[in-house]
């Protein structure tokens, strides 16, 4: 008896082993095709390899963009929801906050740090200043402003009907209080920076030398005057802190303890269209409408926000568990483009990905970059050749189904006002790349098929790339193959992808750049303000390439000078700067991106456009979300 049982168990075990083996061999097949891609050289294989990876959607056919083979474009999407049917009275909107971790619950604009908290905040508290589609503050928000002749003094007037959720009016004092808290020596958030030190008297107040901020004047209950040290057009695109803080709630709480207080975590109030009703820490928030909202009573009865795991976003949308989500993984779009119960809204993301070249190090004492002409990547011809060698169009089509597209300048299409379309940046041309390298003296002198540097020494370029998503590895491989195809020996740093924190540590987040990194692949989400000083300025820690030049300094300064209030002048400055970056190639942009937002069919009057500020207008056409099919 025992024996039979044993043999049966053995059989079962064998079956499982067989399954496991089958699964393993499936995996190694994939690896096989990867390897074969990297073995042959030539210019074709890079793109072929790419289409292998994207084969799921494209069936591996070789037709480029013309054929309808699963390619999309950001132009196919509208930023605003089309309205169908009749809206019902009231209703509750279900909002999904996509996050693999619980939200932090720091529910105050002055203290929040994580993006999830910002999403929660946006429903119940809002900026006093509205902005137009060019990201400039306008007078459509809860407050209006006037600028003095010297552009340094701003007078803000809060509209009369703007009240906090507890019925108290939002006053100039509340707004000034925000500045006092952020500038306070014991402030525990991360907002205090150059935007604040640019206010007259702020540094004295921050250092404890003054009891008040001399540049901030409360004229009357609803009028606030702020004087800045340096007038710059950036003030209007986000350098003025537009959030007020209810002083009557916070005044008795010491600044150091505000962050953990109940007024921030448990029962926060704001001035937005919805009031916080309940908070289940880390997982959900419910809101009810604020009938006293300054733009009018919201049409919805309330909003329910809950955290959705990134793995289950699609299912949550299909089953109508949520009407919309704060961020949708664009790489899941091709598989779900036909989802019947949602409409995908889309627009250009404030984003670009780029390849950066290490041109120096960070001088911590001077607090500025120390560009070094003797670095491996110091030759601009080498950098330009590397730009010519990669086919970003193919990357965009094969890895991202056209939802990302090849980039040319460092000002993304999200800022059309300052982006100069006429600049001719290098595009894929391996022959040109080889020519540049030949002329610059990078030649293969020892016959191993790889170019040596002009001194005849072996040239191995260490490439730092970040892990993350399915695309990261094939993408890094593609770039390396493309460079190999023009004779450059580029190797992954440590032979593997870097984890996020390790990557930025080595690239130089703390100023301690790892000299082993020669080039790196990064991406920036850019702010409303077009000013690139924070990323490319001489004193910018985030200027990871450590590039600097007199001309660059000058252009960046001109871009935020007083003359730059003249838009045409500023456009010219930034056009020159984009050209300079194309000429000097301290980094080269690789891809721009689209942002997609699926919204349930029952939702009306919703938009992801930057100048949209009518959350009170959102309505629904049915009590329950529409379910797929």
């Amino acid at each position: 008896m025992k024996k039979i049982s044993f043999s049966k168990a053995l059989f079962a075990l064998m079956l499982i082993l067989l399954l496991a083996l089958a699964a393993c061999s499936g995996g190694s097949d994939d690896e096989g095709s990867d390897d074969s891609g990297s073995d042959d050289t030539g210019t074709e294989e890079g793109t072929d390899e790419g289409s292998d990876e994207g084969a799921e959607d494209e069936g591996g056919d070789e037709e480029p963009a013309e054929e309808d083979d699963g390619l999309y474009s950001v132009e196919d999407f509208a930023p605003s929801k089309t309205n169908e049917g009749e809206a019902i009275e009231g209703g509750t909107l279900n909002f999904g906050l996509v996050s693999s971790s619980a939200f932090e619950g720091t529910l105050n604009w002055n203290f929040y740090a994580g993006a999830p908290d910002a999403e929660i905040l946006a429903w119940f508290d809002e900026s006093l200043l509205g902005n137009d589609e060019k990201y400039r503050y306008n007078n459509d928000g809860a407050a209006t402003y006037e600028i003095s002749d010297d552009n340094r003094t701003y007078t803000f007037t809060i509209k009369d009907n703007v009240n906090w959720h507890d019925g108290e009016p939002v006053t100039a004092e509340d707004w000034a209080y925000s500045y006092e808290v952020i500038g306070h020596p014991e402030y525990t958030g991360v907002r205090y920076g150059s935007d604040f030190t640019n206010i007259e008297g702020m540094e004295a107040y921050h250092n404890g030398e003054a009891d008040s901020i001399s540049g901030i004047e409360i004229v009357d209950e609803k009028t606030l005057k702020i004087t800045f040290i340096k007038a710059t057009p950036s003030l209007l695109t986000g350098s003025i802190w537009p959030y007020a803080m209810p002083k009557h709630v916070f005044q008795d709480i010491p600044v150091a303890e505000m962050q953990e207080s109940a007024a921030v975590r448990e029962n926060p109030i704001g001035m937005g269209p919805f009031k916080v009703e309940t908070i289940t820490p880390g997982e959900s928030v419910t809101y009810v409408k604020n009938e006293d909202y300054w733009q009018g009573e919201p049409k919805l009865d309330g909003v329910t926000l809950k955290v959705i795991n990134p793995n289950t976003v699609v299912q949550a949308l299909e089953t109508g568990e949520v009407d919309m989500v704060d961020s949708f993984p664009t790489d899941q779009y091709p598989d779900n483009a036909e989802m019947s119960n949602v409409e995908f809204l889309g627009m250009t993301d404030l984003y670009y990905a780029y390849i950066g070249f290490k041109l120096g190090s960070w001088d911590a004492e001077a607090g500025e970059v120390a560009t070094d002409d003797s670095m491996k990547m110091s030759d601009v011809n080498l950098r330009r050749a590397m730009w010519y060698a990669v086919d970003n169009n193919a990357v965009a089509e094969n890895f991202y189904n056209g939802l990302r597209w090849a980039a040319d300048t460092l000002i993304a299409p999200s800022h059309p006002e300052f982006r100069d379309e006429s600049i001719e940046a290098p595009t894929y041309d391996p022959e040109e790349a080889k020519k540049i390298l030949d002329e610059a003296g990078y030649e293969d002198t020892d016959g191993d098929g790889m170019r040596e540097n002009p001194e005849g020494e072996e040239l191995v370029i260490n490439y730092a790339a970040m892990e993350g998503g399915d695309v990261a590895e094939p993408l890094a491989n593609y770039y390396m193959q493309a460079w190999e195809a023009v004779g450059l020996n580029v190797q992954l740093l440590d032979g593997r992808l870097q984890e996020f924190n390790a990557f930025y540590d080595r690239v130089g987040r703390t100023g301690e750049d790892d000299p082993a990194v020669d080039i790196y692949q990064g991406a920036w989400g850019v702010g409303f303000d077009v000013d690139p000083r924070g990323l490319y300025g001489r004193d910018a820690m985030f200027n990871f390439s450590r590039y600097s030049s007199e001309e660059n300094d000058q252009l960046l300064e001109d871009g935020v000078s007083e003359e730059a209030f003249d838009v045409e002048y500023r456009q010219q400055v930034y056009s020159d700067w984009q050209q300079l970056m194309v000429d000097e190639v301290p980094v080269f942009p690789t891809l721009y991106s689209a942002v997609l937002a699926p919204v349930n069919n029952r939702v009306q009057n919703y938009s992801i456009a930057v100048d949209w500020n009518a959350p009170h207008e959102i309505s629904v056409t049915a009590e329950e979300p529409v379910v797929a099919e």
């Binding site: 991360v190 920076g193 953990e260 289940t280 820490p281 997982e283 959900s284």
Partner: protein, 320 residues
């Protein structure tokens, strides 16, 4: 026995210190810190640096460790860098959820294991036994995180029998009957999927133990005395076979901790496991060390409980 318990606790003390030191050191060695995720051109790096100094993130590890231990002795686990609140408060919020998840899982584990184990042990090598052992082998072979995802997809999204994320329906008022009901409803799917996988060990143990016991001499004696078959099984065999199960109980708790890390992540259930994972990813050291310490204490207590239970149910075992 009290002597034994005290002695065990005294022995575990250095273990916990060593554990905390190891965890602290490893956490320190991870690249990045709690503020390094804030790589945002809109935030001034100088402001971040200032916070780093204020929070003491730039201090050498031994000073940080000493600070942490000093706080610990006073019952203060420090401040979470990420959540900006006291770690004790944070853990309190999460521990409740994890505790109920653990209780529900244990209940399900034994609810499944005991009948299955008895059936397959009593009627070994029958059709039912084959089915049950088949299930246990599949259970052994299935990774929990895949199983949980499949369960979530089928029962959560396809059939929509259970809620798919969170620990409670948004907007419920704590203390009401609906709140408790909603809590239980949110517990069912994660605890069931965890129990279905972890229970297979217990089923196997019970099965082999019963098969073993039923060939013992005292069982033959019992039968010879004319005891009914059900009496033989319920009184004589089962009681003796449950011994190793009781001994296993402590390890069950340890296993649960590992399991909850996956399950809580997949079901978006805010408990200790999820807290552990997100604080590792977010480099929230004070939370990581506190959570690991709690996990360590839980495992050690689990082992202790096992010993105590064993001494209670088996008079042959005497703890000295």
């Amino acid at each position: 026995m009290w002597k034994f318990i005290v002695r065990r606790l005294v022995i575990t003390f250095p273990q916990i210190i060593l554990l905390s030191l190891l965890v602290f050191l490893m956490a320190e060695m991870m690249p990045g810190d709690a503020l390094s995720g804030l790589l945002d051109p809109n935030i001034d790096p100088a402001a971040i640096e200032e916070q780093r100094i204020k929070l003491g993130l730039n201090d050498p590890w031994h000073i940080k460790y000493a600070d942490w231990v000093a706080g610990l002795v006073q019952g203060d686990l420090g401040q979470s860098f990420k959540f900006k609140m006291p770690v004790t408060e944070l853990i309190e919020q999460r521990l409740v959820n994890s505790f109920w998840l653990g209780v529900a899982t244990l209940i399900f584990t034994y609810l499944i294991a005991i009948p299955l184990g008895i059936t397959s042990g009593r009627y070994n090598d029958t059709w039912a036994d084959q089915m049950i052992t088949g299930y246990t082998y599949i259970g052994f072979a299935t990774p929990l995180f895949i199983f949980a995802l499949v369960v979530l997809w089928i029962f959560g999204f396809q059939l929509q029998w259970f809620p798919t994320s969170g620990s409670v329906e948004p907007g419920m008022v704590p203390g009401t009957f609906e709140y408790v009901l909603s809590k239980i409803q949110h517990l069912l799917l994660p605890s069931l999927s965890l129990a279905l996988i972890t229970t297979v060990n217990t089923v196997q143990y019970l099965r082999s133990e019963i098969i073993d016991t039923k060939q013992k001499d005292f069982i033959i004696t019992a039968r010879a005395k004319g005891a009914s078959e059900s009496r033989v099984y319920n009184r004589h065999i089962l009681r003796n076979s449950l011994l190793p199960i009781a001994a296993f109980f402590g390890f069950e708790i340890t296993g649960l901790i590992g399991g909850t890390v996956f399950v809580e992540q997949i079901f978006g259930y805010p408990g200790m496991g999820q807290l552990f994972l997100e604080s590792v990813v977010g480099r929230d050291y004070s939370v990581v060390t506190s959570v690991v310490l709690l996990f360590g204490i839980a495992s050690i207590l689990g082992a202790l409980i096992s010993d105590i239970i064993l001494s209670l149910v088996d008079p042959r075992i005497r703890i000295k």
